[in-house]
Subunit: 444 residues, 4 copies
Amino acid sequence: MENQVKKAEGKLGILIPGLGAVASTLIAGVAAINKGLSKPIGSVSQMSTIRLGKRTENRNPLIKDFVPLAQLSDLVFGGWDIYEDNVYEAASKAKVLEQSQLDQVRETLEAIQPMKAVFDRDYVKNLDGTHVKQGTRRELANAVIEDIKSFKETNGCNRVVVLWCGSTEKYIEDFKEVDVYASLINFEKGLDEDDKRISPSMVYAYAAIKSGVPFVNGAPHLACDIPALVELAIIAEVAIAGKDFKTGQTLMKTIVAPGLQARALGVSGWFSTNILGNRDGLVLDNPENFRSKEVTKTGVLEDILDAKKSPDLYSDLYHKIRINYYPPHGDNKESWDNIDIFGWLGYKMQIKINFLCRDSILAAPVALDLALFIDLAQRAGLFGIQEWLSFYLKSPQTAPGLPPENDIFKQQIKFQNTLRHIMGEDLITHLGLDYYQELVESMI
Amino acid sequence: MENQVKKAEGKLGILIPGLGAVASTLIAGVAAINKGLSKPIGSVSQMSTIRLGKRTENRNPLIKDFVPLAQLSDLVFGGWDIYEDNVYEAASKAKVLEQSQLDQVRETLEAIQPMKAVFDRDYVKNLDGTHVKQGTRRELANAVIEDIKSFKETNGCNRVVVLWCGSTEKYIEDFKEVDVYASLINFEKGLDEDDKRISPSMVYAYAAIKSGVPFVNGAPHLACDIPALVELAIIAEVAIAGKDFKTGQTLMKTIVAPGLQARALGVSGWFSTNILGNRDGLVLDNPENFRSKEVTKTGVLEDILDAKKSPDLYSDLYHKIRINYYPPHGDNKESWDNIDIFGWLGYKMQIKINFLCRDSILAAPVALDLALFIDLAQRAGLFGIQEWLSFYLKSPQTAPGLPPENDIFKQQIKFQNTLRHIMGEDLITHLGLDYYQELVESMI
Amino acid sequence: MENQVKKAEGKLGILIPGLGAVASTLIAGVAAINKGLSKPIGSVSQMSTIRLGKRTENRNPLIKDFVPLAQLSDLVFGGWDIYEDNVYEAASKAKVLEQSQLDQVRETLEAIQPMKAVFDRDYVKNLDGTHVKQGTRRELANAVIEDIKSFKETNGCNRVVVLWCGSTEKYIEDFKEVDVYASLINFEKGLDEDDKRISPSMVYAYAAIKSGVPFVNGAPHLACDIPALVELAIIAEVAIAGKDFKTGQTLMKTIVAPGLQARALGVSGWFSTNILGNRDGLVLDNPENFRSKEVTKTGVLEDILDAKKSPDLYSDLYHKIRINYYPPHGDNKESWDNIDIFGWLGYKMQIKINFLCRDSILAAPVALDLALFIDLAQRAGLFGIQEWLSFYLKSPQTAPGLPPENDIFKQQIKFQNTLRHIMGEDLITHLGLDYYQELVESMI
Amino acid sequence: MENQVKKAEGKLGILIPGLGAVASTLIAGVAAINKGLSKPIGSVSQMSTIRLGKRTENRNPLIKDFVPLAQLSDLVFGGWDIYEDNVYEAASKAKVLEQSQLDQVRETLEAIQPMKAVFDRDYVKNLDGTHVKQGTRRELANAVIEDIKSFKETNGCNRVVVLWCGSTEKYIEDFKEVDVYASLINFEKGLDEDDKRISPSMVYAYAAIKSGVPFVNGAPHLACDIPALVELAIIAEVAIAGKDFKTGQTLMKTIVAPGLQARALGVSGWFSTNILGNRDGLVLDNPENFRSKEVTKTGVLEDILDAKKSPDLYSDLYHKIRINYYPPHGDNKESWDNIDIFGWLGYKMQIKINFLCRDSILAAPVALDLALFIDLAQRAGLFGIQEWLSFYLKSPQTAPGLPPENDIFKQQIKFQNTLRHIMGEDLITHLGLDYYQELVESMI
């Protein structure tokens, strides 16, 4: 397959709906890294190695040296926002990075002015923006298509990807029953009729895919996962992935839960609370928006700790998640988990995990990697749903009817074996009996 | 390969040097389970399912229904101890299980009287036992061989395994330089000359392997991992595995560290403290014995967070481990970890994990599984070092020169793929591109 | 004053509205203690000493040996409940104490049958009881007065106290504006007219005080703190105290906050979350009932960390409290607090407190002490509001216009100096310069 | 007594042996505060109010407006150190304050050059300094006396105090048996004979007191608490106080333990661990020096949780303290405490406290307050041991034979009532029955 991957030539445009804390942290970081001022810690594409061949071969190249990814120096950023702030101003208000660090890349950041956003306050109650496009759904979609085209030309980009980093939209119940989502033909009719059930993020997703541009959804609401847009992605041969960047508490959860499951330890309760004080916290203070988050956050345990497969271990699991808006912490999101487990003969034990994390610091490299890898997927001809990127996502989009894997370690193997597959390397199974065969032979 | 696995017919004897807290919790538990009073939670062999074939096939049998393991009702327990207490008395003193629970299986436990132990106080300073064998190393080894033979006959066992559950012996520096460990011929000469560098646990390991009986080392000191005994295991075609049951804090560490590594997060410090008040805590209060533990506990991070592969992420990692004897907690071992990590652009975050665990409750099912699986290995013709059992071990024994995998999730895949391999099933790589190929085809 | 205190002769009846977890734990405990099976740990009246005179005098009697309290063997328990369970059944369902312990005092507990309760579901939405009295407010009050009289006679009690241990009733906004609470005359008119604004707990309080019987409110809702009942207490010369037993998280809060305040450390945020799975947790899952609790829990910090006195330290304090119904923990209430503090030059620090407590185990001795001390107050002629018992209460009732002290250490001094005052001992000021005067004199 | 307090006229010199992290944080802070750049958070003398009279009088002046203290603008700092760094350099190396903050007061800090120190490496094994005085103990004492005199004259100080902020010296066993400490005559003979049992800190203390200058010991080793120096302080009519600044874990311990004791809760175990990476951590990595710390840290619980007064509650208390040198945290000392408590009928509960503190940020205002208040004591004629300053000290020095109070709240009352006493205000007992007398009278 290796020969089929197109090279990463020229510039890659990364267009972002929502130039807030995550996006500005990403953009400022890439600028600082390109200036040699800092390092892309947390970015697997840039920092991680991948084992090739047998353990004894010692072939462990950096991933970025193994697969043909866009270089950080070839990235061009742009986007849309409901506020007029340029990226320097947005980053300063977000208070994620130190001001002195922002000042080192001030010019680069100031040059990035948001385009007017597609916005409908009904989907994000706790915010109100003024820098927004007017028009019907169809007109808005056309305007975004025009934005993408114009950005690509103006900046001389060879390729573009669109990456949702905006706020969480409200939850939509039983989306499979909604006719306007059910097929491409219905959806396009809905655009024409300005159907309010089409959310702003769906408008962006449609516009991107229609433009032949990969789309990634970093938030927990519905976007490219409706049947209409999956259909469009396959027809248009465009890669898509979603949803919800896996960071913070859920990251820890999909690390720890597989460990407990691996050892057949029972879990009777998992209480998770979060405190955060950034704009994300403010949006999630609204119950309708929190509901979107709650669904993706809750689902991960049901899959990993599967009560159907192991009723003795997990059928009584009580899982509760709370998110609390707590201004004193700003972007320094913090989680506390109480996990009630039981072992041999049912004896009870407890685990408490307190994660003093930084929301956007964890999300920025995830956003970067998703942009780089979905661009790789597109060049490798892997269109439609990219489940192998589930490694980065709280609620992975999969083929209809296929249950997702939420265990981050299975996701990691899928991710790594996909890269090996793309480059024509042997897949790794960790069997490794041959090492011992050799040992025996050496002794006889 | 499936056809080559001998069936698990007749009784399996499990002979244990060290009938203390772990062993008595294991034995009492199996007795209670066999009476239908309780369940073997935490035992992967009994409780876990294994996925076979594609995700959509929904083939997830229990492991015990997939591979031919000895039944719990076919197990016969025995062992050696430096104290005369029968297993009922030992379990009562250990205070791990509730007395009312022990009383339900009192007869079974009282019937198990320890044989006199091989003991040298120079190896375990904080204990002093009276129920010990006398003689030279050679005489002691012969006595243990005789014990095994006699136990097998008396109890009508079809097969036997030996499982070290005794205290941690003192640390031995640079064991590769010690001539008496270097080859079987040297070692047997050492037995004849009563060489004090041969530890009690090595005497047991030698006796077991010489008897054709698999040996597992559940403690962190040197035993079947010296070259002489690896040689003997291969010549005698006997399965061996070591070392140190992976439970508690190290279990959590090999769960959490792979998660951080998977995401290319840097780690600058990892401080681990433990409080425990059982006999294990007392033994480890002695610096020479603690040293053995410290080495196996420390090693896990060096492999998972590999500073050679990722110097920017792990070269400054400061790792410190403390174990504190704290009588108020008895067997309720508790750990607190402070983990200093850094992400995007080097920004700092912290994770605190407080594990209120129960030492023997976690160890007992691990001991059970190791006994059952090493018996399986022996029947499957997999002799010598069983690296696939590293899933259960803090410091896995591997082929000379082969670096161990400490990441519990890689160990789990190795473990599961070995089971699939033994039974002739496809190995699982988690690639899964075919699901999407089908989706595309269904749409065209 | 000492001579004015009447002796604690004869039996003391303790009548409890709400024979649930707290009450049954209290009653079972007193029964076990009276049988010599256990000790009243956590009861200051029974276990604590009090310093008298100078430090060098070494006069530290037990409080129960210093002031004339009712003996535990002279207590007689009774009460009302909306369920028919006797106290043995209620204690068994509450699962606070081990069943084997309850069985040791089974007869005593089974003998205590609840009288029918005054109940109005509008005040406690999440419960529904069948064992309830019927009638107008006036008829209910008369029935309770009759119950008290009858209990006293039947059991040959010399004195009685009434102690609310029932569920939290709903919050009442601006109670000072409610005319029916404003004066005794209005209140009695309200009883006659069956005014629904009179809550069940007010009916009990009225009946008790009217009977000349002290009343204590262990829950956070309004009861004896309305002006009408304060008026009645003074006219009838009856001691009253409220409200809300100080246990668990708030206990810790009024311990830790005074320490931070003592050292002039700033506090910018205090996030408190609780998980509990008992009936109390179920009732508080209803927002109206939670509101009562929230108000008493929140108030404590406003007084201790006083933004008016120290605006630089406390004017930005963000205080948030969450209570989560979490069945896996039952009565084992657990709290986690994150406290954001700042010190010298504004540098930030954090404190995290995780309290694995047991709700009723902490509340039972508080309930006991309040019963014993309010009986003492009554005998000492201290009628009306007993602020010196604020030591035990989350939201102390004080004289109108007098701000409460929530600092548990000031409350403790008030409590101890009140006991010293009652018994004619010198009050303690901790000045202690005299010790050093003596030292100087001894050297000259 | 108020009239007897001399006014705080002119400059106050604060001379500090040990110009390291604590001292440089103090000095830089005072400079920044005097420039209006920051606030003295954590300084009770500057930030706290004190209640005078009845609660209803609302008289709550700032302490600095109530008692005549030296103004921050009248302070002049100097000191001795074993390294030549000026205070700007020392503060930069300590990395407690942000460099940008230090740069704002750079000139002031650079101007403070340490005088050569009295040093004996036998007392602080892990350090080695070059900037040290030579000579016999007598010559060293004379040199320090000369330093004090010269500093006072050069800087035009009206008064001077000496404040030990240096490293912890090694522990001295059974100091009451050491003849050279037993009396002033012996001690002065020891100085003449260069007796090595006289530590550097004793030389400073002697020199200060001999110069009529108050001395405070902020470290846990022996200094002004030997009989010889108490004798000198009384004869010379000089105020002294010790020892060991109460900050961090011990501060929390003397806050939380009194709370548990107040409520008669039993304590069976208290495990305290610390991680810190500053010079203090390095010095305490040496067992002899750690021993000094361990003794002062351990003692606090023995007094507060008194097993003699309450054997049922505290006689089984197992108290263990660990300090771990952990470079990743620098001055950001962090503690984790596990507290095992028991309540009603002996039921067990646990408290976990994780304090992410900053060592020098907590210590600096304590050092400031001690300097200001011991100067007040001297002006108020309160010479000899100042037990009322125990509020700030881990191991308070008291009159021989008088047990110390470690409960921070009793210390606080002693402290506040001493201030009231000095200024002729009524002492506060918190009795407060008069408020209720008024209420009753108003109703009749």
